[in-house]
């Protein structure tokens, strides 16, 4: 055991010095233990493969940047790295649990697309166009108040001030504008809902 540890330490030293073959020996020597350890915790070949790869990428980076300082304890060090990566994997999965489609559970029951689809967008565009046409038919004073209130978001006080009428007149024009709109919609049987 001590010989192996000594050899590991020597191989690590050689690898840091630039001997790529030392890494081949280290991986060949410990791949089974490390991969077996990861697989025992993960129970998934592909995932274990990924974590094994990430583990050694970390090992390579640490050794190449001269940050390794645990001489003689190479295997426990690598095992600790893989253990931390396994923990990271489980932590990540807890935050984003995997949902599988079954007979009782449909993934689409929890996934909702909130943005309007093409059909809904076209319908609202058509409604908007129809509404614009009807508004154009209104008498000028009523149309003016309605556009300022609905599209330009002015308050009735501001509308009264800008148009030079009392607030009651502005409110009255708005009321008649809405009544007239309703009349036209009913008369022409226009549907303004999606």
């Amino acid at each position: 055991m001590a010989t192996t540890q000594l050899l590991d330490a020597l191989l690590v030293k050689n690898y840091i010095a630039g001997d790529e073959n030392a890494l081949v020996i280290l991986i060949n020597r410990h791949q089974s233990k490390i991969y077996g350890f990861i697989y025992s915790k993960i129970n998934n070949r592909d995932l274990a493969e990924d974590i094994f790869q990430d583990t050694f990428m970390k090992v390579i980076k640490t050794l190449k940047s001269n940050c390794y300082n645990e001489e003689g304890k190479f295997l426990p060090w690598v095992m600790r790295i893989s253990h931390n990566l396994i923990m990271d994997h489980y932590r990540k999965n807890q935050k984003m649990p995997m949902l599988r489609e079954t007979d009782e559970f449909s993934i689409f029951s929890v996934l909702q697309e909130t943005s309007p689809n093409v059909e809904k967008r076209i319908i609202s565009e058509l409604i908007e166009q129809d509404l614009q046409k009807i508004i154009k038919e209104l008498p000028d004073d009523q149309r003016e108040v309605l556009v300022m209130r609905i599209y330009q978001d002015y308050s009735f006080n501001e509308i009264a001030e800008i148009t030079g009428v009392s607030i009651n007149t502005a409110l009255g024009r708005m009321r008649y504008a809405l009544l007239n709109l309703r009349k036209v919609i009913e008369k022409n049987q226009i549907i303004l809902t999606d």
Binding site: E20, G36, E49, M57, S65
Partner: protein, 47 residues
């Protein structure tokens, strides 16, 4: 003498990563070069 059929079945094969994974790691190691400049490690990957 009766043959023992259970021996092979009970023998557990060693779990090993794919050869491609090992090959990738060795290539990655050869390609990676880390240079320390002013306390910061710069990683270079050769093509």
């Amino acid at each position: 003498m009766a043959k023992l059929y259970s021996k092979n079945a009970l023998a557990t094969s060693k779990l090993l990563p794919k050869k491609e994974t090992i090959s990738f790691l060795l290539k990655y190691s050869k390609a990676l070069n880390i240079v320390k400049m002013g306390g910061i490690n710069f990683e270079f990957i050769a093509n």
